[in-house]
């Protein structure tokens, strides 16, 4: 019922936003950002937004772009794909932004990307890793690696580093990101001679996973791959340990939130997940960023903050090189980004508009997330 009402409200809002047009000041460049500031995956949106804001402040402090100030309009999509589309429509039609930053979740980027493509406005996703996102069209980019790489890295890691012979998969069936990652893990793990002993699923929002976990317990896997988001991962880990499953759980960058450890507690110790960056990475660019971030927000940035920062950096770099904010020219400039020195590593945009980057595997140990190993593409 609530969903139906919010759809109605969304429809009304989008009607209104087409009619109302606001003139942007001549001395500023307006970019849009849509993020999950509230809702089920709120830490994703809040972190990436913190990264974007930090980057924009720095760019403006250094004199702005093309002699103009950079202004970012932020829209909250409440962690819902249907709201993401509405938010981006508002950014495009009402705020007349020259480029769009967002989203972290692939489902939400996928909902919004066709609108940017249609409007001819470049969109850069900081952290959506599902391959389908940039396949929407030539105006859609990302500054993170994609799931085939992430999934196969974790499969390799399970087989080589953990010497796992068998794996179970527990995927979020309603989530494009989770389903994609599970498939890539499955392919690579089988390809390496490992055996997928069971492949079960849940749906976002579930709080009881004991039925699936009992099935997994019955087939005694060496590892369990849980490519979900942090909201469910903590509970899954807890219930797995309660049922006596003691093998490591593995996951992807969807685990990257302080909530994973908060909800999971001791249950997530000894688990591994792949990520875009590690806070204890000795790379000076990263350490400098962490310092600046701490000074402003007094907390250690997670990967979503780093990618929000890098996405803004890549966009600003392209605006500078293009010398204009014209959609077509800006798009072309983003497309030829090469070796941009981001916090999450050197970013080069390839022909599929994806970033070619290294990946890190992190281990949760004693309630802390620690760097474990780095894998180059």
């Amino acid at each position: 019922m609530a969903r139906r009402l919010s759809l109605l409200a969304a429809a009304l809002l989008s009607c209104l936003s087409v009619g109302a047009c606001k003139q942007n000041a001549a001395d500023e460049i307006v970019i849009g950002e849509f993020a999950s500031l509230t809702g089920g995956t709120a830490t994703f949106g809040r972190s990436s937004d913190a990264g974007v804001q930090l980057a924009v402040n720095e760019i403006n402090a250094a004199g702005g772009l093309l002699g103009k100030k950079l202004r970012v309009v932020v829209e909250d999509d409440q962690s819902k794909p249907e709201e993401a589309r509405t938010a981006v429509l508002k950014l495009l039609k009402q705020d007349e932004v020259v480029a769009v930053l967002g989203e972290v979740a692939s489902s939400r980027s996928l909902a919004a990307a066709p609108e940017c493509q249609r409007a001819g406005v470049p969109m850069i996703s900081p952290a959506s890793t599902n391959p389908k996102v940039t396949a929407v069209g030539e105006y859609v980019f990302r500054v993170c690696f994609i799931d085939p790489f992430q999934g196969s890295t974790m499969a390799k890691f399970a087989a080589d580093s953990l010497h796992a012979k068998s794996a179970a998969i527990l995927r979020d069936i309603k989530n494009d990101y989770s389903v994609g990652l599970a498939d890539f893990f499955r392919d690579e793990f089988s390809h390496r001679g490992g055996k997928i002993v069971t492949d079960v699923s849940y749906s976002e929002g579930d709080i009881d996973f004991k039925a699936q976990l009992t099935t997994i317990r019955g087939v005694k896997p060496d590892v369990v791959f849980v490519p979900g988001y942090y909201t469910e991962v903590g509970l899954i880990a807890r219930q797995a340990r309660e049922l006596g499953i003691s093998v490591p759980l593995l996951g992807g960058d969807g685990w990257d939130s302080p909530r994973t450890v908060e909800i999971g507690g001791n249950a997530v110790n000894g688990c591994y997940f792949s990520n875009h960056y590690a806070a204890d990475d000795p790379n000076p660019v990263a350490q400098q960023f962490i310092q600046k971030f701490r000074a402003k927000y007094s907390e250690v940035p997670d990967a979503m903050a780093v990618l929000g920062y890098d996405a803004t950096g890549v966009l600003a770099d392209a605006i500078k090189r293009a010398g204009t904010t014209d959609g077509k020219k800006l798009r072309d400039a983003i497309a030829v980004t090469k070796d941009y020195a981001g916090v999450s590593g050197k970013i080069t945009i390839d022909e599929q508009r994806n970033a070619r980057k290294s990946i890190v595997v992190l281990k949760i140990d004693g309630g802390k997330v620690k760097f474990f190993q780095k894998v180059e593409p």
């Binding site: 089920g40 709120a42 069936i173 079960v200 039925a211 509970l235 309660e242 006596g244």
Partner: protein, 300 residues
């Protein structure tokens, strides 16, 4: 075999939560013939009250049975008060109005609580404090039963028996039954109908509050929209058991939990939410008044 037994344990533990919520539905329906759609959201408020109380009053990391029972009582009392207010402000003014009006008001109250909850508590999920340390009660048997699961079941059963006693063995219960039978005749006999209806709401909401705390304890992630799906399924459970019937609601809830867990464990999680409604349809086809319901002639 072990797996099947484990799934049955999981199902009963999960179902006893539905049962608690279903008891509240049945309570209100039995007296007022009103489906209180806001009931699932009262359950959410119950969890939130306990969450904030624990954060405000307890040192972080506290785990004691005393603290748990204190929060359980606090949450039940708060939800009882909320139930009283809902009845007083939303439903009582519509007492003489057609049934449909009250039903739509119930949906309105539900939306108010859900969206108000998102405003007040914030829409992101919260982690419910671990008031009791989870311990396994059956080490070595291959079937895990935790103290929390057992507690949830015991609280549900106790509340059900208490409710049954109250309704069939006390004067208040007699008044409840009298109003349920005929509000008009009851008022002619000197029963204060408004008070009895308030009482039904208070009792029902208290049960929802208890369910909220118990779910926080066993599945410690709570958020403002957490009441929608369990509310719906508990309603189905109450109907399947024969709405208005107390042991029926309990049985319906357990049946709902068991079938859900078995479907997820042996078929696919995709059908998790569908199974509740399949059971509803099948039961209503075979026994239109529910498993435990006496067939009654409704005056239309």
């Amino acid at each position: 075999m072990n797996d099947l037994l484990q799934q049955i344990v999981n199902g009963i533990a999960w179902g006893s939560l539905y049962a608690l919520i279903a008891l509240g539905y049945t309570m209100v329906y039995g007296v007022l013939r009103l489906i209180n759609f806001a009931h699932g959201d009262v359950y959410m408020i119950g969890a939130m009250v306990a969450y904030y109380a624990a954060r405000a009053l307890l040192a972080p990391g506290t785990s004691s049975a005393g603290a748990f029972f204190a929060l359980l009582v606090l949450s039940m009392v708060s939800c009882g008060a909320l139930g009283f207010l809902i009845e007083r402000l939303a439903y009582r003014p519509l007492r003489g109005a057609p049934k449909l009006t009250a039903l739509i008001t119930a949906i309105g109250v539900s939306l108010l609580l859900e969206n108000g909850g998102q405003l007040v508590f914030g829409p992101d999920p919260k982690f419910f404090p671990q008031l009791l340390e989870t311990r396994e009660l059956s080490p070595g048997s291959g079937i895990v039963v935790t103290n929390v699961q057992l507690l949830v079941l015991c609280v549900s059963l106790t509340l059900m028996v208490g409710l049954q006693f109250l309704v069939f063995r006390t004067r208040v219960g007699a008044a409840l039954r009298a109003v349920s039978y005929s509000a008009e005749a009851a008022s002619l006999m000197g029963i204060d109908v408004d008070r009895v209806i308030s009482l039904a709401f208070v009792l029902g909401s208290m049960l929802a509050g208890a369910a909220g705390v118990l779910v926080g304890l066993s599945n410690p992630k709570i958020e403002p929209l957490m009441g929608i799906m369990p509310g719906l399924k508990a309603f189905v459970a109450a109907v399947v058991g024969g709405i208005g019937n107390i042991p029926g609601a309990m049985a319906g809830g357990i049946l709902m939990g068991l079938s859900e867990v078995l479907v997820v464990g042996y078929i696919s999680s995709t059908y998790r939410d569908a199974i509740a409604f399949v059971i509803l349809i099948v039961v209503l086809l075979v026994r239109p008044s529910g498993l435990f319901g006496a067939s009654l002639q409704e005056k239309v």
